[in-house]
Symmetry: C2
Subunit: 239 residues, 2 copies
DNA sequence: GATTGTAATATGGTATACAATCTAAGTCAA
DNA sequence: TTGACTTAGATTGTATACCATATTACAATC
């Protein structure tokens, strides 16, 4: 009965570089933030579920101050919704908002793809290609968690080589809000074939420097993802 | 010890009667947030300036907890930058980021304008038209603060009628980060004529339902604004 | 069974304490 | 003067206790 939700993901080793002097001091708050965010996007808390401060204190092993600050952060990110005197809860996603988010991703990602097609070098292309390999591999193993991670890797490489870090931040934040849709989408039937295929098409267009084609491929990719999501959310709201 | 996960998640049965007290209780935190944000975007704190918690407590008349939570919020919004154990300061804007922000605004606003052209009704058009009148009037009085506010009003009406509230949130957040550039831009010479003229062009295209023209006008508008901003930021970094 | 009163709970907010860390001023040596 | 070292004060990070108020759960009542 004691739902001691494991807010303790695998302790990650800091990949301390060689001769790294400026080791940025990590505060407890940052750790708590990451864990709570991970717990939400990985669906350990369901949308609409109340987040009770004192329980979170216990589960995270930190004080109320820290929990409150972390909640303020996640609230601003759109992952948590707070009603005054009622407290925070995991943000719910309505169909309208989800649609807008998929539209925005299409807009942002296609623009990034177009720009990437104009400037990508061999190194950038290799990164994206590797990510695609990883995705195919993970799909074969039905390791959907890795699929999502590698997909992020693919797009991050694309946005970074297009020098669009601000846009990438926005996409990441949007992705957080639709994390449960993404999870369900990647694990839906036949997504293992169409998804990578469409991303391959994006990469192919970038490789030959065909910006418009890359943008179109992005829009295609997002359109199908958005379609699946729309069905999922309709099924959800039906229940 | 206490794991009562009841708390009625799906309560909230809003049987809104006419006697409904619609006024959501405002927390002290929200007030403090608005004031501090206003102080930053209105340039009462300069970029790079340290924000010392205890000073803010005094100035706002609230406790440290509230100030810290507010700072966490503004940090997530990108208006404040915090270095661990060194504290928060007003975020600085580099040329690269500013460029990206103007690009993003062009992308988002042109998409919204295109969508608006397809769906705007008389009421929407009236709102935008009124905003334009307000802008012209304020320019005549050199009341640049009102110019910015009315410009926001114009775009808000446009995004809302296009059903793009999420995109509008993003634009608003981006605008916060370039607030000082916007202030300087609107008050720069001859902006009082070109600015309203370009926006009039956007509205005109929306009015006749010409989506592509509306999008193009938006891009024009942002391009000139971005140009001015680029010069301003170059001058700034020179100093 | 619906309404109402009451107790338990959770939040919003304040104040305080204290260790870790940063900053700045001062000191001393070359 | 410059540079390195020291130290005192300022500031942040975190924890905790406390209170008032709003909300929720629950029992008593009609």
């Amino acid at each position: 009965m004691n739902k001691k939700i494991k807010l303790t993901p695998p302790a990650q080793k800091s990949k301390a570089g060689k001769l790294r002097i400026a080791e940025v001091p990590r505060t407890l708050r940052e750790l708590a933030l990451e864990r709570l965010r991970a717990a939400i996007v990985e669906f350990h808390f369901k949308p609409g579920q109340r987040l009770i401060e004192r329980d979170l204190c216990e589960q995270l092993g930190v004080s109320r101050s820290v929990v409150r600050e972390v909640i303020r952060h996640l609230e601003t990110e759109g992952l948590v919704h707070t009603i005054p005197h009622q407290g925070p809860s995991v943000a719910k996603l309505d169909a309208e908002t989800a649609t807008q988010i998929y539209e925005l991703r299409a807009l942002l990602e296609s623009a990034a793809a177009q720009a990437a097609a104009a400037v990508a070098n061999a190194n950038d292309l290799a990164k994206m290609s590797n990510a695609l390999d990883l995705i195919a591999d993970a799909y074969a193993r039905k390791d959907f968690h890795t699929v999502l991670g590698a997909t992020n890797g693919f797009y991050e490489a694309m946005f970074m080589c297009a020098h669009k870090s601000v846009a990438w931040d926005m996409v990441q934040r949007l992705n957080g809000r639709i994390s449960w849709l993404r999870s369900l989408t990647v694990s839906s039937v036949d997504r293992g074939s169409t998804g990578p295929m469409q991303m391959q098409k994006i990469l192919g267009a970038i490789k030959i420097g065909d910006g418009p084609a890359a943008a179109a491929a992005c829009r295609d990719h997002l359109a199908t993802a958005g379609e699946i999501a729309k069905r999922l959310i309709a099924a959800e709201e039906d229940a």
